[in-house]
Structure formats: structure tokens, C-alpha cells
């Protein structure tokens, strides 16, 4: 579908093939300058009139003032899911999930996930929808975009989409835990303490218990190397035991929202890099019995040998 991106630049629902199930996943709070591929999706802007057709409910009259210049970014894709026949949305939802995580890992942290708003489908003249719990709230608040998604981020997300999709469909719970908790840290209506709790849980799920040294190498040093290989860094504010102290405060119910608030963004950025590194390892390294442990063993060896980034990357993904 990536060759067809121009089709949607002047988007008209009636031009879509009537014999295919089309899906529309709104990504709120963002806009884009031109249509772009993200996995099997084409991200494009949806104009207000088209949106009315998709939403086709009282919400349009009740909640969203019909301003003709409004538009939203949607991912448009086809899928084997057939909601109009058997209310089956599973494959379409998986595609949305993988696209969401790929975008988060690419570095855009400020969009609203489609699953919170809803998923829409069109087959011929039949429309169906699977609304998210925050649909009304999100549609009212975020239909007008707040920032432009950088093309480089979409390209990066597109390149990682397959790897994310593969991990989501084939990974064991232990292999998915860190990724899932990372995603939870972006949820709406959470406090800084909650976000940080998810991030620390995600950190330890990926780098093993804090107390455990892997061939003598601490969690901080392994995490720092993985983050660097994934294009981010271990935040200076969390060095010298500060991270572990904050995590212990959280684990023992001592939320300090003000102090924690400043740690959330750097932790998300560090985990973003670390998870990118993990994703690449998952995708390229030979399958092992305990991939999380193997990942850490290879990182630890590179740290101990003081290897340069290229060498460490080769070892990790051999």
C-alpha cells in the first residue's frame, strides 16, 4: 500500500474500493505534512466531512462543532478482519497496537493512541466502529492537532513496524513484559508516580533484578549501553543510585509527585532506546532459551571489554 499514498492526499471515502474492508485508526493530537506509510497503514489527514461519515453518530451533533477546517490524522489500512459480518476486529486491532508501539519507540510520545479513541471500518456502504472508552473526550479535546509528526519519526516507525509486530504476535509474556509496561507509562490520567512505577518495572523486566550483577556488571551499565545502542542515553539524574532510590520509594508507597514528575520523560526516553536495542536483538540474534538473560549477558560482556558501539552492536546481534 505504500505505493498508493497519493491516493489519500485528497481523501474521499467514495473512492475507496467497495469490495475491500477498510479500517481507520485515529491518531489524535498530531498532524502530518504529507501521507506516509506506517507498516500496512497509510497515515493521512482526514477531513471533517469524511470524519462525519465514519463517526455517523449523535456524537457529531452533540460534541464536535462542525468546523470545516478541522481534520485528524488517521491510519488507513485493509485487513482480513470482518467487523460487519462477525464483529471480528482482532487483526485490525493488532495492526493498530503495533503501529502505536512503533511510533512510541520512534520517539513521538505525545499522540493519543487509537485504542483509546476507537477503530472504524468501511465495507462498501457499510460502516462499523469499535469505540474506545475515551472517544468522546478525546474527539472533543484533540481533533485540532497540537504538533506535527516529524517525517523522520514516521520513517523510523515504519522500518521497525515488522519487528514490533513479530514480537507482539510471537513473544512470550516474559519477552513482552517490558514493552507492555513501557506503553502503560503513557496512559492518560496517571500520576507521575504511576508512570515511573511502570517504567522502573519495565526497566527491571528488561535488565533483570537490580541486585543481580551479570558477570559483575550492574543494571545501570547494561541499561546505559543498551540505551546508547538504541540511540538514547541513561539519564544523568538517575545515576549514582538515584534511580534505585526513586524506585525503592515507589515500591514502598512513598510517592513524591513533584520529584517524580521530572524523572518520567528521561526514563521514558532511556527505555525507548533500550527497547529499540532489545527489539533489534530479538529480531536478529539467534533464538535462545532465555532471551532476556542472553541479552544481558552479551551487554555485560561488551561493557566489561569496554567495546566500542559498533563492536557491542555486532556482539549483541550476532
Amino acid at each position: 500500500m505504500s505505493d498508493d499514498t497519493d491516493l489519500f492526499s485528497t481523501f474521499l471515502l467514495s473512492e475507496l474500493d467497495q469490495q475491500v474492508h477498510w479500517f481507520f485508526a485515529p491518531f489524535m493530537q498530531i498532524t502530518i505534512s504529507e501521507p506516509a506509510a506506517l507498516g500496512p497503514m497509510v497515515l493521512t489527514r482526514l477531513d471533517w466531512m469524511s470524519w462525519r461519515f465514519l463517526e455517523r453518530t449523535e456524537l457529531v451533533e452533540e460534541y464536535i462543532l462542525p468546523q470545516t477546517d478541522q481534520e485528524a490524522v488517521v491510519g488507513i489500512f485493509t485487513s482480513a478482519s470482518n467487523p460487519s459480518r462477525d464483529d471480528d476486529w482482532s487483526e485490525a486491532e493488532q495492526i493498530c497496537e503495533a503501529a502505536t508501539i512503533a511510533l512510541r519507540l520512534a520517539g513521538d510520545t505525545n499522540f493519543v493512541e487509537p485504542r483509546l479513541v476507537g477503530l472504524y471500518s468501511k465495507y462498501g456502504s457499510t460502516y462499523a466502529r469499535r469505540p474506545g472508552h475515551y472517544r468522546q473526550d478525546m474527539l472533543q479535546q484533540h481533533l485540532q492537532p497540537e504538533h506535527k509528526l516529524k517525517p523522520a519519526i514516521i520513517v523510523d516507525a515504519h522500518q521497525n513496524y515488522e519487528a514490533v509486530q513479530t514480537l507482539l504476535t510471537r513473544g512470550t509474556q516474559a519477552e513482552l513484559l517490558s514493552l507492555e509496561l513501557f506503553r502503560d507509562s503513557f496512559g492518560p490520567y496517571l500520576g507521575s508516580g504511576d508512570r515511573l512505577l511502570f517504567l522502573f518495572a519495565s526497566l527491571e523486566a528488561l535488565f533483570l533484578p537490580w541486585r543481580e550483577r551479570v558477570t559483575g556488571v550492574t543494571l545501570e551499565r547494561r541499561a546505559a549501553l543498551a540505551a546508547a545502542l538504541g540511540g538514547t542515553s541513561f539519564p544523568a539524574t538517575l545515576e549514582d543510585g538515584a534511580a534505585r532510590k526513586a524506585r525503592n520509594q515507589l515500591a514502598h508507597g512513598e510517592p513524591d509527585e513533584i520529584a517524580f514528575a521530572s524523572l518520567v520523560a528521561p526514563m521514558q526516553e532511556m527505555m525507548r532506546g533500550a527497547l529499540r536495542c532489545w527489539l533489534k536483538f530479538q529480531n536478529t540474534a539467534s533464538q535462545t532459551h532465555e532471551p532476556v538473560r542472553e541479552f544481558n549477558s552479551r551487554l555485560a560482556l561488551s561493557v566489561r571489554n569496554n567495546e566500542a558501539a559498533g563492536e557491542a552492536s555486532d556482539r549483541l546481534n550476532a
Binding site: 472517544r135 468522546q136 528488561l206 515507589l250
Partner: protein, 303 residues
């Protein structure tokens, strides 16, 4: 006098349409469409709303004689807590959905982040069915909550309630919910203990699992599995066996509920003083080794 209606998201009642929580002087009821229509006429009058409303059969906390808005909100939050403690279900706070204060013809609406979405459009998502048995438990929980109101402000209990509420939010995965619940449960059960963690947690939480001393080993084994699960979440111990055990995963929230209920029950029954909530773990230690105390604690806990 005004009446306050607060929607309980994802809750249904079965076998009856309403029941009272006398201790909180309020009612939990499935509200007929015509009543909701009067409160939310502009929205309810739009097409297809009546059939949607009937399909989702929304349940409300209803407070009559609602003079003071703040006091009413507090009563509603206690009713919500009673439902959560009585069901262990992931029921989000009513503040996230629709609330109405009705006085004569005047209606003041409080629109939460769900707006009318969950109230109308999610009839297929039911997280808590209040049947007769559950209703009876919710009533008992509300009695306990009122009797132990002064304990609710204890740091450990506040943290637990907050975790139960955050774990019920849309956008938090089941795994995230489990992580929140296990951290909060550990806080109540372990207090200041810093060594022999697994053994201590298993012994103490094991008491919450069964009233019968002769089943002690079984209770402790279950608690030990939960601690292994906690280690998976908080210490990255990728224990594939535990992480794939749905029974253990689903009991994490139940453990936190039991820990909260046991703490409140211990205080109201004189087994623990209200300023000693942080010593609840020591009480569990004693109960682990004293069958009579174990029985007393369980008898004090509403079932």
C-alpha cells in the same frame, strides 16, 4: 432537596434492580431510561439512545438529600470502594463518567473523561456483575468502611485505594494493574521488613488466603507464587511459568483487596489499634502461628 446520581462504569446488577447501603445512606440501582432522559434530555433524546441505554443497563450510585456536593462525592467514593472491595473487579471511579445533581428542574452535570461513552456505547464490556451474593458482600464492605473511616487515611491504605483505582483505568494493561496491586499489597503486608522477604511475605499473605490453620501450607504456597509474580514485575525475573499462570495473575488484585479488608477488619475488631496500621504485618505473623487469632481475623472480615 437534591438527589445525586453517579454512574458506576462497567457495572451491572443481576436478579434485582437496586439495593441499599444503609451505612452510607445511599442506594445502588439500575436506573430506568425515563429517569436518565430527564437528567440528560439533550443527549438522551437523540436517535437510538434508548436502545443503547437498555443494552448497557447502566448502574448508578444514588444519594438522596444531597445538600453538600463535597460530602456527597465522598459518600459516592466510599460506595465505589465498597463495590471494589466486595468484587475485586476493575471498576473505575464514578468521577470518570457522568454524575448528575438534580434539584427540582435544575440539573448540574459533571462530565468525566468517559463522558457518556461508557454509559451508552460499551454494553459488551462488563467488569462487575452484582448479583445477590455480591450485593450482600458490598453492603458488608460499606458497613466495614464506615466503621473504619479513620483508618482509610493511613498511608498504606491510601496507597492501596489509589492503586486499585489506577489499575482500573483504561490504558493500563492487565500487567500494569498487577504491578500496581502487588506493590501496594506488599506495602501493607511487609511494613518495614527488609530481609527474608519471600518467606515473610508467604507466611503473612498466606494468612489472608485461608482461615484454616490446617491449610496453612496451601495458603502460603499460593502467596509464594504471588511473590514470584511480584518479582517478575518488579525485579525482571522472567519466570515463564508464573507469567503464564492466569490464576496467579488474576489473584493479584484479590490479594490487595483482602489485605485492605483484613486491615480495616482488624482495627474495627480491636485486633489492631488504628494508629498501628503499619504493624499489620506483625499481626499476620502472630495469626500465622496462632490458629485462634487466624480464625478471629477471618471472622472479622466480611465474606
Amino acid at each position: 432537596m437534591a438527589t445525586f446520581y453517579a454512574h458506576l462504569p462497567f457495572v451491572r446488577v443481576a436478579g434485582f434492580t437496586s439495593f441499599q447501603l444503609p451505612a452510607l445512606r445511599l442506594e445502588i440501582a439500575q436506573l430506568p431510561f425515563d429517569k436518565w432522559e430527564k437528567m440528560d434530555g439533550g443527549f438522551a433524546g437523540l436517535r437510538n439512545q434508548e436502545s443503547r441505554y437498555h443494552a448497557s443497563a447502566p448502574v448508578f450510585v444514588i444519594v438522596s438529600d444531597a445538600a453538600d456536593f463535597e460530602a456527597v462525592e465522598k459518600m459516592v467514593s466510599l460506595a465505589h470502594l465498597a463495590v471494589v472491595l466486595g468484587s475485586a473487579a476493575r471498576v473505575p471511579s464514578p468521577q470518570l463518567s457522568m454524575q448528575y445533581l438534580v434539584s427540582g428542574r435544575s440539573v448540574r452535570r459533571s462530565i468525566g473523561p468517559f463522558a457518556r461513552e461508557v454509559l451508552l456505547y460499551h454494553s459488551d464490556t462488563v467488569r462487575c456483575v452484582i448479583d445477590e451474593l455480591t450485593a450482600a458482600r458490598v453492603v458488608k464492605m460499606s458497613n466495614l468502611i464506615v466503621a473504619a473511616t479513620h483508618v482509610l487515611s493511613a498511608a498504606e491504605i491510601q496507597f492501596a485505594i489509589r492503586s486499585l483505582n489506577r489499575g482500573a483505568l483504561t490504558g493500563v494493561s492487565e500487567m500494569g494493574n498487577v504491578a500496581l496491586c502487588l506493590v501496594a499489597a506488599e506495602e501493607i503486608v511487609m511494613g518495614r521488613i527488609t530481609n527474608q522477604l519471600t518467606a515473610t511475605f508467604s507466611r503473612r499473605a498466606g494468612v489472608l488466603m485461608t482461615p484454616h490453620a490446617h491449610l496453612r501450607e496451601k495458603g502460603e504456597a499460593h502467596a509464594r507464587d504471588l511473590y514470584r509474580l511480584r518479582s517478575c514485575f518488579l525485579h525482571g525475573e522472567a519466570d515463564a511459568e508464573i507469567l503464564s499462570d492466569e490464576t496467579i495473575i488474576s489473584s493479584a488484585r484479590y490479594l490487595l483487596v483482602r489485605a485492605v479488608v483484613a486491615t480495616l477488619a482488624a482495627v474495627t475488631n480491636g485486633l489492631l489499634s488504628s494508629d498501628s496500621v503499619s504493624y499489620f504485618g506483625e499481626l499476620l505473623d502472630s495469626a500465622a502461628n496462632t490458629p485462634l487469632l487466624r480464625e478471629q481475623l477471618h471472622e472479622a472480615m466480611p465474606r
